[in-house]
Each structure stands twice: as C-alpha cells, then as structure tokens.
C-alpha cells in the first residue's frame, strides 16, 4: 500500500479527482508521467484507465502493450502477472487505451450508425475518408468520444488523460465547443439543403457573397465540395445529436471540480515559455491548474560545490585523489569539466523554474523529477518515478 504518512500534493490530487488531464509541450515526458500517475492510482486500489491521444504509440511502449483497434468495449485491464514481474501488487486495476484516428472514427461510425446501409454510405463518402484518414485535426474529436464513452461506462474510478502537445491540447479542450458549433442545427440545414434541392436555387436566400465563395471553392477544388459535404452531413445527421450531447457532457466534466489539470514541463527555456502560454490559455478557458510536474531537472548536482571555481586547481586536486582505471589527469579534467557544465545547467534551470513558479498561484505545487539516465520502459520503471512524483513508493 502507498505510504499514507507522506501524502504529497499529487497523491491527494489523484485521490480526490475522477479525471486527471496531463497537458504540456511535446517531448517533456508527458506520456510517461501520465502512465506513472495512472499506475499509482492502480496501486492505491482504484480502477484506473490511462488514455493517450498522441498519434505516436508511446504509451504502448511503456506499458508493454501492442497497438490495437481501440474499440474500448473490448479493453481489458493489464494482467496481474505483468505487475508481479515488476514486483508490484496493485489492489486496483490499470487499463491502457490508445486512440488511433482512423480506427476510432470507424469504430464510432460502427457504434452509432443506425443501419448497415447508412454505415456503408458513410464509409464510402470521400469527405468522410478525407476527414478520418488523410486530414489532421479530427483527432481531438475522437479522443473526446473515447473519454465520453469511458465516463459513460462508469467502470473506472480514475481516468488519466495524456494529451497531444501544447497547441493541440488546447484544441482538445475546445473540441466540444467547436464540434457543437460545427453541428449546430442551422449549419447542418445550410449544408444539407444543397442535396435536397439539388440546385443552386437553394441558396437564393443566402447572401451572394457566400454563394460566390462556394462557387469559387468548387471551381478550385473540383470536389463539388457542397455535395460531398452535405451528403456527409445528411448521412451522419442521425448520429449528431448523440455526439453533441456526449461531447457536451465531457466538456462539463472537464470544467468541473472532478477534473484536475496537471501541466507537465521541463526546465528548458522554450518549453517553459510554452508552458506559460499554455497556463494563460487554461485561465482563459476558465480551467485552473492543479499541479505542475517539472521533468528532467538536474538540481541533484548542486548538492556540493567547489570553494574555488578554478577548474585547473580542482583538476589538480582530483587527479591526486583518484584511484583506479580512470585515475589520470585526462579523466580528471573531463570529470571536472562535465561536473561544472551540469552545475551550470542546474543553476540556470533552477532560476527559470523559480521564475516560472512565480507566475503560478501560490497553492499550485511544482513537483521536480530528476533527469534519469534510463527511460522507464516498464512498470517497474514507472513505479520508480513515484518516489519523485508522489513522494513515496509501494
């Protein structure tokens, strides 16, 4: 059982929320952090799911699962043997889910299409194919749908969500409203009118500018954009109400007290600049940040410092003190240079993190995780991070 005595900010956050959303720039260890937090949930006795909506199958890499068609109904928790192999004995469960753009769209259509005919019609629509296969930007919708389904199923006590890098993560949050607008009944009527009327006269009521634009776009794309799009809307129409309602619910949940947003960052200057922008974005959306995790921090190298910063003198003394295969001036010189570089890095990072922390509300904890040589590629590795993340281990 987790050590109850050293209850940290993050462990109480995990205890008291139903959904934890990890946000932040790419390459800062967000997926790993999300997976480790979810593992903590499972070890503390909660039925936990971790959802990644990143196109790269990173989570699969750290959880030892292979990519699959993400029909979430078929999801099974990780088998106990997998935990036992890493010396872990969870009292809860851990289920990892990957959202793949194409398969998620197809799965959603399969789930919601009222008849096989409509289903096939949608699959055959070029606009649908484009939207789901070739074009980017539709990922967030599907992630939302997966999240909605998980919440609806109600089989998880804790859902940890890993989001795509910064900019897209904000898109992810905005997705419900965007889709809502997109599915707005007036818009639908507008698009579907073209097929029912099958002529431009249907647009006589619309202003001429719009008609002109549509004509220009049709000329340019040759796609008969309207027909393709309106066909898509017509066939999908039956499914929209359900979609919209579910998204609305997810959106409400994300904004509610049941959801905690955790910003994952690194101490690199450009990453922190993005983190700051992201924090501003969250504030604007009316979401409050519950914690910050700073990965890859080098502050352990500041535990002791040389009295004199003269590398030559330090090298001299170290050369005399070394014993063994690397006991020579060349190695000593490198050791000193390497150490001073890392101290330099650590000091700069510390200054930047302090500066960043000053922009946060005082009650927002900033949890630091050191730069680890070996990336946690298994459950034991993810559990090893608990020492830093939640200040305790199983």
């Amino acid at each position: 059982m987790p050590n109850q005595k050293s209850k940290s900010a993050l462990s109480s956050l995990l205890d008291t929320h139903r959904v934890v959303v990890c946000v932040g720039s790419g390459g800062v260890g967000k997926t790993t952090t999300a997976a480790s937090l979810a593992l903590w949930g499972a070890l503390s006795g909660r039925r936990t799911a971790v959802v990644t909506i990143d196109p790269a199958k990173r989570l699969a890499d750290c959880l030892g699962i292979s990519p699959h068609a993400p029909d979430v109904n078929l999801e099974k928790p990780l088998p106990p043997e997998l935990f036992a192999r890493s010396g872990l004995h969870p009292t809860g469960t851990l289920t990892a889910l990957l959202v793949d753009q194409q398969t998620a769209w197809d799965a959603a259509i399969r789930r919601y299409a009222p008849t096989p005919e409509i289903r096939e019609q949608i699959f055959a629509n070029r606009f649908y194919q484009g939207l789901s296969r070739t074009f980017s930007g539709s990922h967030e919708y599907m992630a939302m749908d997966t999240l909605a389904l998980l919440i609806q199923q109600g089989v998880y006590d804790l859902i940890v969500v890993d989001t795509p890098p910064t900019r897209q993560a904000l898109d992810f949050l905005a997705a419900p409203q965007r889709l809502q607008r997109f599915l707005d009944s007036r818009a639908r009527a507008w698009f579907t009118r073209a097929t029912t009327a099958k002529s431009w006269s249907a647009f006589s009521a619309l202003n001429r500018t719009t008609t002109f634009l549509i004509r220009k776009i049709e000329e340019a794309t040759g796609i008969s954009a309207l027909r393709e799009i309106s066909e898509f809307f017509t066939t999908m129409q039956v499914m929209f109400d359900d979609f919209g309602e579910r998204f609305q619910r997810v959106s409400q949940l994300l904004m509610s007290e049941e959801t905690a947003f955790v910003l994952v960052t690194s101490p690199a200057s450009d990453v922190l600049a993005e983190a700051q922008e992201f924090h501003q974005g969250l504030i604007q959306m009316g979401v409050s940040l519950k914690a910050v995790v700073a990965n890859r921090v080098h502050d352990e190298w500041l535990a002791a410092s040389p009295r004199s910063s003269d590398p030559a003198r330090l090298t001299e003394r170290l050369t005399n003190a070394l014993q063994g295969p690397a006991a020579d001036r060349r190695h000593a010189e490198w050791l000193v240079k390497n150490f001073l570089s890392y101290q330099h890095i650590a000091r700069e990072e510390g200054a930047r993190l302090t500066q960043f922390a000053e922009t946060l509300p005082t009650e927002t904890p900033v949890v630091r995780v050191p730069a680890l040589p070996a990336f946690p590629a298994d459950l034991a590795g993810l559990a090893a991070l608990h020492r830093y993340l939640v200040g305790s281990s199983q």
Binding site: A56, L213, T221, A304, A321, H331, S341, P373
Partner: protein, 354 residues
C-alpha cells in the same frame, strides 16, 4: 562570427545542393533548433537561405534573434543579408490563397469573417496543410532576374504526427480533389518527390521513444510517401570519454576533508551518470545505424538559452575549419573511443561547452 573559412560536414554538403530541406521529428527533440542551425550554417556558406516555420509561434525566428511581431505576416524577414525567416500557418496561407482568387479586399474580409467560411474551413481541415505546403512551393518558384530568389529553403515541420500530414497532402489532394487544386497539388507533389530538389531530414535525440518514432517516420516516409530522404540529425549527444564501468571502479584515496570528499564523490557520480547516458545512447542508436541515411551528430548544448549563440555554437558541429582538421576535432575524436559510429565521424563533434 570570426571569418574563419569552414567547410560543411560532407552529408550536409550533399544537402546544400537541394532546393527544399524539410525537417521532421518528434516534439521536443530540438527540431526547430536544428533547422535554424542548418539554415544559419548554409547562409554562412553564402547561400541565400529562407527558413520557413509552419506554425505561427515564431520560435525559429526567436532562435535566430528576430523579435516576434504582433502582426502575423506572410513576408520573409531578414536575419542577415543571406538569411531570411518566414513564420506561416495554415490560417495565414489560406487567407493569402483566397486573396489570389478574390483580389477585392472588402469582399475577402466579408468572406473570411462569414460563418460559411468558418464552417468550410472546419469541415475541410486538410485544406490548411495543403495550402501551407503550397506556400513553400510558391517561395521555391519565386524568381528574381530569372534566377531563383532563394538558393535553398529550410522548412521546420510540426512534430512528426502532424508533419507527415503536410508532406502527404499534395498527393492526397491530387487524388481526392479535382479542378485547380488537383492540378496545383500535382505540381507541388512533383517538386516534393524530386530527389534533385527535395530532401526530407529527420531529427532525433538518443532517447528511446524518439528513436522508435524516427524508425516509424523513416518507414512511412520511404515506403508510403516515397519521398527523397536527406540525413538523420542526432541532437543532444552525450560524449563521455570512457564507459561507465571504468568510472564505477574508480574511487577516491588519500587525505581528503569531508567537504572535499563529498564534492569529489558527487563529481564522480555526475561523470558516471554522463558515461551511463553515453553507453545507453550507443545501444539505443543501434537500430538507426541500419537506416540508409547519413547520421549527423549534434552535441548536447550546455547554454540553454533561446538565442543566437546556441545556433552559432551548434553550427560548429556541422562544419570543420577548411584548412585541415581542427585540433578540437582530433582531441574530441581521441576522447571518445567508444562513441557511436557515425557515417561522417571525421567531422567535428566539438562540445560547445564553456
């Protein structure tokens, strides 16, 4: 910079002959830094270079010391007489494109602000990617006195998942759409697929996930998209002079004050960690040795400030002093007996620290 003549890393020299250099990689591997460094280095070699970044964050511009502007612009901004930077996004490119088909400004404004337009853009998300790549192609075709305006264009793509969409769009659009867009997309695709003109480069770090994502991206780029490839840039290489084992069995002896002992122990542990990173990195990079791509290593930069000096420092790793190998190169080669094998190991890996 002091005007010491430097020659390009041979792999980079081959890239310098192209017209379009794309840079793709997982988020956070330093793709923007590498693209900016390559653009800077080519410009130093006298090439009139344009660096295009495909989002409006203007990070590459910041790396090169160009202050961000309030107004998103579609014009290249000068960094030096031979280096220009252009930050564009789908939104800007789309409006510029509409400007071409609807030259009347007030009408354009009305359209862009109309609900119908918003719906259309939302409904056809791929259009933005296509038009953004179209913008790159447009810059490639710019001529001044019948000569290309740019000798070379360096493009910083968004993180892999999204960037492949950009490279996929022209061909996909040619197949999906008809009319003008299809014809234009075909012409853009022809340039992208021309190995004389285009090279897609990958950027990674010696970390597990970026390496596996690089393998994936390489497979997609060569097998599915069939695009001409350039080089693989490995950023943030750790460069310890000996294996971790050697440092592990190295200890301290003799009279030492407790404070000094604590310091030296920390110092040894720090060296051991760096050596461990170097060892692990060698093993991790193994699968990438099999790809038929020249590897260009870039050392872990110490000064982590988003300014020009980083680009200048890293640029040293892509070039060597013209008059024979530099003393630094020799020294660093001797220092790293077990460094990962790179196909252009003779070029400088000089660590730009201090």
């Amino acid at each position: 910079m002091p005007s010491v003549a430097r020659t390009l890393n041979p792999a980079l020299a081959a890239l310098a002959k192209k017209r379009l250099l794309f840079f793709a990689g997982k988020g956070g591997v330093g793709k923007t830094t590498v693209a900016a460094t390559v653009a800077f280095t080519l410009a130093q070699q006298g090439k009139k270079t344009l660096l295009i970044e495909l989002d409006d964050s203007a990070r590459a511009a910041r790396f090169l010391g160009v202050a961000p502007t309030d107004q998103p612009t579609n014009d290249a901004r000068p960094v030096s007489p031979s280096l220009f930077v252009l930050s564009t996004s789908g939104q800007i490119a789309l409006e510029e494109y509409l400007q071409l088909i609807i030259p009347f400004k007030p009408l354009l404004r009305t359209i862009v602000e109309s609900r119908a337009y918003q719906y259309f853009v939302a409904a056809a998300p791929g259009l933005k990617e296509l038009l953004t790549i179209g913008k790159v192609w447009y810059e490639e075709r710019k001529r001044e006195a019948e000569q290309p305006l740019w000798d070379i264009i360096v493009i910083d793509l968004p993180a892999t998942g999204h960037s492949l969409q950009y490279l996929r769009m022209p061909r996909a659009a040619h197949e999906t759409f008809g009319g003008i867009i299809s014809r234009e997309a075909e012409r853009i695709a022809a340039v992208l697929h021309d190995p004389e003109k285009t090279a897609v480069n990958l950027v990674t770090t010696p970390d597990e996930l970026p390496v596996s994502e690089t393998q994936d991206a390489y497979r997609q780029l060569t097998e599915e998209l069939r695009l001409p490839m350039g080089a693989l840039f490995i950023n943030r290489m750790h460069l310890a002079p000996c294996p971790a084992d050697v440092l592990r069995s190295t200890t301290l002896h003799g009279p030492l004050s407790p404070k000094e002992r604590q310091l030296f122990e920390l110092l040894l542990r720090c060296g051991h960690t760096e050596a461990l990173e170097t060892d692990i990195q060698t093993a991790r990079l193994q699968p990438l040795q099999a790809l038929s791509l020249p590897l260009i290593p870039i050392p872990f930069a110490v000064a982590d400030t988003a300014d020009k000096t980083i680009v200048e420092q890293l640029s040293l790793a892509l070039t060597t002093v013209a008059a024979g190998p530099s003393p630094r190169t020799k020294k660093s080669a001797r220092q790293r007996p077990h460094a990962p094998r790179a196909s252009h190991a003779e070029t400088s890996h000089a660590q730009p620290e201090e």
